[in-house]
Symmetry: C2
Subunit: 225 residues, 2 copies
């Protein structure tokens, strides 16, 4: 089946697809054959209209009166997310966080495979983490095979992040996930996403200080009969 052409999927939808995927995975494991948008919405913590609109971007996979076939929809969502192929991940910066990421089940499941660990600290190089040797960053280019389809994870201090980023880009990496609090600059064709713990913490503090600014919960509640 060929790709449908050029439907652009809104980025908020892209970020919710992994949620749906996870819920569908559980439903599938439980042997549940179909879900309605309302059930899926409830499990994912969003509302039903959003689920239907989101899924409509992928195609017409639902059955009126019945809902969605769990396994079929799961396959479609996984295909859309590229989870039916394998992704190589390299982690740069094997401090506490890099260590945690390297161990993480979540990185290794879902067809993301950590293929290399890098650092600059001579004391760390050569050590085995999760049965993988920690290498010096300079070996980056040698280790990655299909760089344009590999994902680089930056878990080093902010001060080194831009340099690491440049090296990753230089090696032709396709996408970067940056866990450092540095604001990185990359040439446009390289994908870049940011995960920043302290931003989340500070946002929480803001909303504690400003309860009136809190936005309502998303999840749907039972409407009165």
């Amino acid at each position: 089946m060929a790709e449908r052409y050029a439907r652009r999927i809104p980025e908020p939808t892209v970020v919710r697809l992994p949620l749906y995927q996870r819920v569908l995975l559980e439903l599938s494991a439980d042997g549940i054959p179909t879900v309605s948008s309302a059930e899926l919405a409830n499990a994912a913590g969003v509302n039903a209209a959003k689920v239907r609109k989101d899924l409509s971007h992928l195609g017409t996979y639902g059955t009126p009166g019945t809902g969605y076939d769990v396994n079929y929809l799961l396959g479609q969502v996984r295909h859309e997310l590229g989870l039916d192929q394998e992704w190589e991940v390299v982690i740069v910066g094997i401090g506490n966080l890099g260590h945690a990421l390297a161990h993480s089940q979540r990185f290794s499941t879902q067809n993301f495979r950590t293929v290399a660990l890098f650092d600059v600290d001579p004391a760390k190089i050569g050590k085995l983490v999760d049965e993988m040797p920690v290498r010096h960053i300079s070996e980056l280019e040698e280790v990655i095979t299909d760089a344009s389809r590999a994902i680089g994870v930056i878990a080093c201090p902010a001060s080194a992040a831009q340099d690491v980023c440049n090296r990753l880009v230089g090696a032709g990496i396709g996408a970067i996930l940056n866990f450092s609090p540095a604001i990185l600059t990359v040439a446009l064709p390289v994908l870049l996403r940011q995960v920043d713990f302290s931003v989340e913490l500070q946002a929480l503090a803001f909303y504690i200080v400003h309860p009136e600014a809190t936005v309502g919960s998303e999840a749907e509640s039972q409407p009165p009969p």
Copy 2:
């Protein structure tokens, strides 16, 4: 100076404030007295109009023709984020990630102070991590003093996350930062934010598979003379 009343700040702005705060901190450390919205925007990786609109939500702190006074604006932003007071953080789940977070400089700087570590694993309890003993979750209530102003960090496996969440809410915690991939349900008055590595990874994979869906970079480029 009393709070201005009931200006609601959009959540995208709230999330950008920590970015500005960080940039301003650096500028201040470098002894730079003023910034324009364009400079601040460039350093934060957003555009100038957004910076001005964001800051206008806090008040009228800029000077036409000059820009913003770095130290004054920094103080205002920090006040708005509640960073001029201290925040107690408890971490639940001292696996690799919890360990990393406990060690993290970022959690301890910025007036976020980790005050307790919890787990259920008897093998971990009593161990010292960062000079702090790991306690059993059952001690949660005893350890937290002003729970409503404390932030609970969930770093345990997804399977235990809802239970931990319930305990945190039961102890009267004010806000929760959830690093597990579980979708949590809480009573409304409790603030909840989610950080999910695998979602980010899957989003990156999506955009590698669908280059045409990529949204353009935010940063401003030099306009031609």
